[in-house]
Subunit: 292 residues, 2 copies
């Protein structure tokens, strides 16, 4: 009996890691589609997939699961270019950090193709297949935004793949809610990191940095083209949370400049209490979101 086929399109950090992590999953063959010879050679040397190809179009008609691992623009372009090549009844999912824009683009697909937006909340401050590893997803969140036609079979299949990749949990939500949350928890952290690194003292501060500085700026070494896409595709939500951050930081500055110790102490106590509470909640392992 012929094996079923998972086609991972794009073997960067996330795609390469997924292809590696998914090897051996049930009775699936993992095929990795790459564009450059350099990535092909590295993926081959690493054994990143069961099979590699430069031609995803010819693999699509036989692919039961297609995972789109490009940047947002690449995913949207791929859906439009190949919309009629997907195997009827197949599951298509993506990995990118914005979901509303991608779910809208997926509307171009024919009825038989089931597209489920996904966001593996894993990453590193470095990119590319050189940094891919099968264990990248261990204990991270796998966020899923099913379209209206998502089948139970595909949601179950996705959960089994997530388990195989050792994700910590699978969280189902709407694309809009995902984008709002991610603007706060991820995109804003990147805005902060790059803003801190733009300070003229960056190079002279070596020797004075502790864990908080290393941690906060870690993600600043980002891919500018990809993050330009992620930021602009989620502009309203991101703009809103960044505006709120500006305002709060400004309030701290005013309190510091006015030597308002009472006000400052109250603000710090408020925030510190909130942080301690969220630590406790996570330590208790509360499920505050529906999972499937």
């Amino acid at each position: 009996m012929e094996k079923k086929r998972i086609l991972a399109v794009g073997l960067g950090l996330i795609g390469g890691s997924l292809a590696m992590a998914l090897q051996g999953f049930e009775d699936y063959e993992v095929v990795g589609a790459v564009r450059s010879q350099a990535t092909y050679d590295k993926a081959e040397a690493m054994g990143a997939a069961d099979r590699l190809t430069f031609d995803p179009a010819s693999e699509l008609p036989g692919a039961d699961v297609v995972i789109l691992c490009q940047d947002p623009a690449g995913i949207i372009a791929f859906l439009q270019e190949h919309r009629d090549r997907f195997k009827p009844g197949c599951l298509i999912w993506d990995v990118c950090g914005v979901k509303t824009a991608v779910m809208e683009a997926a509307r171009c697909l024919p009825d038989g193709a089931d597209f489920i937006g996904c966001h593996p909340m894993a990453g590193k401050e470095v990119s590319g297949i050189d940094n891919a590893e099968a264990g990248l997803f261990r204990n991270t969140h796998f966020i899923v935004t099913p379209g209206p036609n998502a089948t139970r079979e595909h949601l179950d299949l996705l959960r089994r793949m997530a388990d195989w990749c050792q994700f910590g949990d699978v969280i189902e939500t709407t694309p809009e809610r995902h984008d709002q949350m991610i603007a706060y928890t991820s995109q804003m952290m990147h805005v902060i990191a790059v803003s801190v690194c733009d300070n003229e003292e960056l190079f002279s501060c070596v020797g004075f940095e502790g864990g908080s500085f290393r941690d906060c700026t870690r993600v600043a070494a980002l891919d500018p083209a990809m993050w330009t896409q992620l930021f602009t595709l989620n502009a309203p939500a991101l703009s809103q949370v960044v505006g709120a951050l500006e305002e709060r930081i400004h309030q701290y500055r005013v309190a510091i400049e006015n030597n308002d110790r009472e006000g400052l102490n109250a603000m710090l106590a408020h925030a510190s209490d909130r942080k301690k509470q969220i630590n406790l909640e996570r330590a208790r392992g509360d499920d505050v979101h529906p999972k499937f």
Copy 2:
């Protein structure tokens, strides 16, 4: 022959860890001064010092090294209260995160007392002796701001203590430079962390947080009273860098709202390049600061 004496005043996270780390250092006995019975009992159970006392005043005349490990206000008050009890020729150093204010307070000491401002750049997001450990300082920076009368003997002694505690390096600078750098690398990180935690989405974002969010907000669970002191004692430098941060974050928000992809890409590329450069510099182990 009687042992020489190190007196650590205040056995919190830093003081407790230093007392533990310094045990066995040359021919010194480590005495820990505490204020509460609870800390005394914990320190005794942990073997945090060779000997414990509630009465630092009576230990001071026999102490060759005094390490002040209270919060800034506590250090300043201790210097004023006990200025005439220090052993002539002794070395006094402190551990707090602002140096100009403490060095100024130390001017009240008589000529024979050599005060050297210190800042071990180690910490945890939790405080108190419960969290103290001898290995806390491993590979962290030990910043030193000697006063005009610091002796070579005391600077050498301080370096040997730093080596014994496994600090990664010892960096000598002025109190003013220290405070300017720390405003940027440490205090501003705390302003950011608490500002992020003040967002109304904090509790609902659980399940959507990745490494960048955990890293950036880690230090928000701070001690409000101590950080109110640290911020207000360094108000001019902190206000200046926080103002620059506000401005840069605002520029990102404007670019995002205007869908200015070209401008955004240029800003992100600039910051990302800077971050990658500083990573390289640190990987090469360059010494960009004089050390003694």
